[in-house]
Amino acid sequence: MNILLAILVLGGIAAVFGALLGYASIRFKVDGDPIVEQLDALLPQTQCGQCGYPGCKPYAQAVADGEAINKCAPGGEDTIKKIADLMGVEVQPLDESHVKGDTAESNRPKVAFIIEEDCIGCTKCIQACPVDAIIGAAKQMHTIIIDECTGCDLCVAPCPVDCIEMREIPETIHNWQWDLKTIPVKQVN
């Protein structure tokens, strides 16, 4: 009799807690931030395709599906480190095969520039631009909206007259970085 009572009591408690947990799991369901969105947020959004995917979001999807994390050349080491942190994997050096051109020459960001006298108005670069940063129409001169250009390089190759080049953004007082090597002002003692 006692045993039966014990079983009943324990069973009852189990049922109550089970129901409670079941209810809580539905009522307080946490919608985890999808990993793809988080990865996408880490990527530089140049949409350059150097990773072999047609944009940053597709690469984020691929990384979520197990693709190597070291294919983002514009993001560099920083991005790889962040992705590694997020995915809980080892940091890997940047896969050199995904680096287009030489990155060593300068660290300053670049944007595409159309030499307008040479432009024949073929619209090929407009079709290549992943962020619609080129204005122009057929047989009209094209030009680049510098503020929207991500410097992805994709418009350079399609140009039949090679009138697009990548130029560094010049250093002005607005984007100048303090340099500790300049003689710092010291205080009076």
Binding site: Q45, V131, W176, L180, T182, V185, Q187
Partner: protein, 720 residues
């Protein structure tokens, strides 16, 4: 609120956290009046001298401008115009080093001073009651006034009133060591300053007006008290001397006990603060129609013989000021020049840097006075965690934590530690026993965070644009497909309709199809007719045979070629005729081959004589060839002959050739070596011909096969 005023009237103020008491060094200049300088030879006027944007240039190179004439126009509230500080000619508009720690260049207008100092026409306004508030603000904006305390925020934005301003605070604290420009201005121009304050009073209508002055400026305090004795609203608040009490947030806290929340402007708390020099400039602009073209600059430091406050025209190069104040030049020592005070200023990279609206001090210390400015190497050692920096921080931050995070570039942590609230006063670096240039680490980190933020914004925008583009492409594709589908359906529907037009269209299509078919057939027929002409009689007869059809097609092509050749030159063809490999050599129109052909002909003639018995027969055969069927029997002979010689006689298809052809047949039979030599000679000469010959050889082989087949069939037929 009343308690605040009570406390102020009792002379009791709040205290802000931290602060330091560096040696003041103000007596170097505070005892001398502001000096009026002679005109410099050239002024360099940067287009942007404040926070905000550059205006549009109004003048061109070579233009003569009058004193006070605007050089740029503003189209945006954040743009502040600049004016010609004196009359003269614009000599250049180009990039030049400006007063910025980076030492980078910016667009500047170069003005060659003519020395006449001719004013443009001014509209002096003695009675301000005639002007509306809007007109006054417009005057302030047109005069190019930007906050002269250091930040350079456009004054007209701060002066255009917002509702419920409790306090208008006039900042005369001037807490930084060495600098006395505001002090002297208050001493000498107290009435003008109070007039300026009254204009602001009218614009903003604040509940209280407070003037904050440090207690180390007794003369200025007395002068202002004198000037404000008729105005009950203005309270002069003498605050204790402590660096950096002149900071906006620090002075607000000291006077009112209020703290401006992080990331907010004082205006959100109902407080507006203006510098005394700005008040003076406002008065000048509104009452005397004098734009901001000059300011008081403290030129000081022990390296100068005559340190003094001067009225400097905006755009005056620093080296002119140093000359006027008699800089002691020491050989082989690069004299450091600091713009701004010793705490917050920066070393300038060139002595051609011009004075701008926010430059209040030029400091040229001697080596004894400030040895650190002469040292290239940093004396920095590791942080010993003494905590003195956080004791003196006026913003209640944790400088050492900030420094570690800044070195580690841990931006989220820096934001958590409220780096953005750092006013870069330099108090922490001043007390640091390890000589860590803390402020520099913060400046670097701030710039990095700012850039990172910009990049993030840009990335976000790029993402949006990329997504939008993808969507657009998808849409366009669908639309195109839809359109194509619709068009096809419409066509079909139109065709299937029983209307006369539809049937007409249908029949038109049918007719067109029929026409195309007929055309094709017609094209085929004449060609086959040609083949009949050109090919052997035997081949025409077996034309129905599949094999012979192929042969005929090839023969057609051959015939076409030969036709061309024959048309171009008869004798040449005659030689080139037989083995095809000679054709290209002949084509090469080599002189030599011509000669060879002539020899061959001659030989052939000789042989003709010799083979007189044979020639009539062959002649007959050739002749009948033209009439195709008549020559059946003679043909047999030729065919058998060709078979024996395994030569391509039938393929010669020398139909068009006349009697000469029989010569050729004979030539062909015996002259093969000759022709080959004829071929080899040009070979040596012409490389092209060689290649052509090789191709021709291959062709000849093919042809041989074909003609053999044709011959066989023909013989078969004949036999049959």
């Amino acid at each position: 609120m009343e308690s605040v005023i009570e406390r102020i009237s009792r002379g009791q103020f709040w205290d802000f956290h931290g602060g330091i008491h560096p040696p003041e060094q103000k007596t170097l200049t505070s005892t001398k009046p502001i000096k009026q300088l002679a005109l410099p030879k050239q002024l360099i006027i940067p287009l942007q001298q404040h926070i905000g944007l550059e205006g549009d240039i109004l003048v061109s190179i070579g233009e003569h401008v009058l004193k006070g004439q605007p050089l740029t126009a503003s189209t945006n509230p954040m743009e502040v115009p600049i004016h010609a500080p004196t009359s003269g000619t614009i000599s250049a508009i180009k990039m030049s080093v400006i007063a910025h720690p980076s030492g980078l260049e910016q667009l500047c207008i170069f003005l060659d001073v003519d020395g006449l100092d001719t004013w443009r026409k001014r509209n002096v306004c003695p009675d301000l009651s005639l002007l509306t508030n809007h007109q006054i603000i417009e005057k302030i904006a047109d005069s190019g006034i930007a906050g002269m305390g250091g930040a350079g925020f456009p004054t007209h934005i701060k002066a255009s009133s917002k509702p419920d301003i409790n306090f208008l605070i006039i900042n005369g604290a001037e807490c930084e060591p060495y600098i006395t420009s505001d002090d002297l201005l208050m001493m000498e121009q107290s009435i003008a300053i109070v007039d300026g304050i009254e204009i602001l009073d009218r614009l903003l209508s604040p509940a209280f007006i407070l003037i904050g002055i440090e207690d180390n400026k007794p003369k200025a305090i007395r002068a202002l008290q004198q000037a404000t004795k008729d105005n009950e609203k203005i309270k002069i608040c003498v605050v204790p001397t402590k660096y950096p009490i002149g900071g906006e947030k620090q002075l607000i806290h000291t006077l009112t006990g209020k703290e401006v929340p992080a990331g907010q402007l004082p205006i959100h708390s109902g407080i507006v603060m203006h510098n005394v020099a700005t008040c003076f400039a406002i008065n000048e602009a509104v009452r005397h129609d004098t734009p901001l073209i000059r300011r008081v600059v403290t030129v000081t430091g022990q390296a100068l013989n005559k340190p003094q406050n001067v009225w400097a025209l905006l755009g005056t190069p620093i080296n002119f000021l140093l000359e006027q104040c008699e800089l002691e030049v020491i050989e082989n020592v690069k004299q450091p020049v600091i713009m701004g005070g010793p705490m917050m200023g920066f070393s300038v990279s060139s002595e051609m840097v011009p004075i701008v609206k926010i430059s209040n001090c030029i400091l040229v210390p001697s080596k004894k006075e400030m040895p650190s400015a002469f040292e290239k190497e940093s004396q920095e050692v590791e942080c010993i965690r003494c905590g003195q920096c956080s004791d003196v921080c006026p913003s209640n931050l944790l400088p050492q934590e900030l420094q570690w995070s800044a070195k580690a570039k841990d931006h989220p942590q820096l934001q958590k530690l409220n780096l953005s609230d750092c006013i870069e006063c330099g108090a922490c670096a001043y007390v640091c026993p390890s000589q860590i240039p803390l402020v520099h680490y913060y400046r670097v980190a701030k710039a990095e965070i700012r850039e990172k933020h910009q990049l993030d914004l840009k990335a976000e925008r790029a993402k949006v644009r990329f997504e939008a583009r993808k969507l657009r492409l998808e849409k366009e594709k669908l639309a195109r497909q839809e359109k194509n589908k619709k068009a096809a359906a419409a066509r079909k529907a139109a065709m299937n309709k029983a209307t006369p037009e539809a049937t007409g269209a249908k029949s038109a299509v049918a007719a067109a199809l029929a026409r195309v078919k007929a055309k094709k057939a017609a094209q085929e027929n004449p060609e086959s007719a040609k083949t009949v002409d050109s090919a052997e009689a035997s081949t025409t007869e077996v034309a129905k045979d599949q094999k012979s059809q192929v042969a005929a097609a090839i023969a057609r092509a051959k015939a076409k070629k030969q036709q061309k050749e024959a048309a171009s030159e008869q004798p040449k063809t005659s030689v080139s005729e037989k083995p095809d490999n000679i054709t290209p050599t002949a084509q090469a129109t080599d002189q030599k081959s011509k000669v060879a052909a002539a020899i061959a002909r001659a030989k052939a003639k000789k042989q003709q004589k010799e083979t007189a018995s044979q020639s009539p027969a062959s002649e007959n055969g050739e002749k009948t060839n033209a009439e195709v069927k008549v020559a059946q029997e003679t043909k047999k002979e030729t065919v058998s002959k060709t078979e024996q010689k395994s030569e391509v006689t039938p393929s010669n298809s020398s139909i068009k050739e006349d009697a000469q052809t029989d010569d050729i047949t004979s030539v062909q039979t015996q002259n093969n070596p000759d022709t080959s030599t004829a071929a080899s000679q040009p070979n040596a000469v012409d490389k092209k011909a060689k290649i052509a010959a090789a191709i021709a050889k291959a062709k000849a082989k093919k042809k041989l096969k074909e003609t053999n087949a044709a011959a066989e069939t023909s013989t078969d037929k004949d036999n049959g």
